[in-house]
């Protein structure tokens, strides 16, 4: 399985840490995946194997979680490293804007 993560995702995760107010480091692993260290958490992020309905894998120790895209990846990563994180679902207004 390829572990390589594109640069755009590495850049996003690097920018996400300060945006979330979390101290940590994102680095490349030897196989092209990403490693994220924040406090006592060490995550490995890799591309999901082909044929699965997922795009990314987030490894945390022995546990691997698969996510289908960037929103899910960010949610999973932040939930692992930011105890204050409370995800909020988007709502669409029933009332329109003034015409």
């Amino acid at each position: 399985m390829s572990r390589a993560i594109p640069d755009y995702l590495a850049a996003l995760l690097q920018e996400s840490l300060p945006a979330w107010g979390v101290a940590g480091v994102v680095s490349r692993s030897a196989d092209g995946g990403l490693e994220l260290r924040a406090a006592s958490v060490h995550l490995q992020i890799a591309r999901a194997p082909p044929g699965l309905p997922f795009r990314w894998l987030v490894g945390d120790g022995d546990r691997n979680r698969a996510v289908s895209g960037v929103p899910g990846l960010l949610r999973t990563v932040r939930a692992s490293i930011d105890p204050s994180y409370r995800p909020i679902a988007v709502r669409i207004a029933t009332l329109p804007l003034a015409p």
């Binding site: 755009y8 995702l9 996400s16 909020i88």
Partner: protein, 345 residues
């Protein structure tokens, strides 16, 4: 469709005085006012005289805390009575919040009330600011900062009590919410037309232009060197049209990760699937209106432009997020450049 305005502002900033004057004006006739007072015995509604065609309804308790459902019920009741002819045929509604209220939950209740759809439109937020005490109020009460940050119109009151122009305060207001139009009440008088005109919709190009001007190169943004460093505005300009699903995912992530810190978002977006008609998007915290589609581009500039106001927003993160979403959506659509060879085994 009846426009609904939210009138907010900190305690003593002149909301009730303003309403009292406006309701006597012919330009402001046929207005239904809902006044929210904090306390068991309301007083403000007794202080307001109206013309025969306007009237005042009262709610007690803090709108943003416990009685949001009551607000929807009050609005539904007003609409029923209007339809039945037992209430005057009002043409606009103004909701005056209590001075301690966070306006965002009130707007959410308004935006999400399912039974109100098709009858009301959200017109905007007017915030009164006391020119004498406003500075100290901002230093002490975060609610007051939020009331300013979500405003479409800022009205500086009590300026006649100042010895000198409120230059520092107006600069602070401009830093907190550079997109809002700042008006001044002179001896309590203000032109209703300038204050409560429709501001948010697809037929308000001037209003949209004010927001989008913030995305111009060199425009000063953010208050990092000012007094309220946690509240910043971020402007994003994208040359590439955006796929509709990419915009949806962007709003999902912003709601998910910024939540209550995203005080306002407005934008004009070039959507791949509909390139001739720009989409106007507008949201507050995690609640967004469905896009309003302009009939045509207002200028030759067809770039997507987003302006966000909120706490601790980081431009670099939002830019990186947009890039990642665009790349991923393109990959899924099979139109992006191939991923680097190291991505495949």
């Amino acid at each position: 469709m009846i426009p609904v305005w939210v009138l907010t502002g900190f305690l003593g900033s002149g909301k009730t005085t303003l309403l009292g004057r406006l309701l006597k004006s012919p330009d402001f006739s046929r207005t239904a006012v809902i006044i929210n007072e904090f306390g068991e015995i309301g007083l403000d509604h007794d202080l307001i005289e109206t013309s025969e065609e306007s009237f005042v309804a009262l709610q007690t308790g803090c709108l943003c805390c416990a009685v949001r459902d009551d607000l929807v019920l009050t609005l539904e009741d007003l609409l029923r009575r209007r339809a039945a002819g037992t209430a005057p045929p009002f043409e606009r509604i103004v909701i005056e919040t209590s001075g301690l209220a966070d306006p965002a939950p009130i707007l959410h209740a308004l935006m999400l009330g399912p039974t109100l759809a098709g009858q009301l439109v959200v017109a905007g937020v007017v915030t009164t600011v006391d020119a004498v005490n406003g500075w100290r109020t901002f230093d002490r009460h975060r609610e007051a900062l939020k009331q300013v940050a979500v405003a479409d119109r800022l009205l500086l009151t009590k300026t006649d009590l100042l010895d000198a122009p409120a230059t520092r305060l107006t600069a602070r207001l401009a830093a907190l919410n550079p997109a809002a139009r700042l008006l001044t009440a002179t001896f309590g008088e203000v032109e209703a037309a300038g204050l409560f005109d429709l501001v948010c919709g697809s037929r308000a190009p001037a209003e949209l232009a004010r927001w989008l001007a913030l995305s111009a190169p060199g425009e000063r943004r953010g208050t990092e060197h000012g007094h309220d460093p946690e509240i910043t505005s971020v402007a994003i300009v994208r040359d590439r049209p955006m796929r509709a699903v990419g915009l949806t995912l962007l709003l999902e992530v912003l709601a998910d990760h910024c939540g209550g810190d995203l005080l306002r978002l407005k934008g004009l977006v070039n959507i791949v699937e509909c390139p001739e008609r720009p989409a106007v998007i507008h949201g507050m915290q995690h609640v967004f209106h469905p896009p309003a589609w302009l009939a045509r581009w207002p200028s030759q500039d067809r770039r997507s432009r987003l302006v966000l106001i909120g706490r601790n927003l980081r431009q670099a993160w939002i830019e990186a997020l947009l890039t990642a979403l665009e790349m991923e959506v393109d990959e899924v659509h099979g139109v992006a450049a191939k991923l680097p060879a190291t991505d495949e085994q």
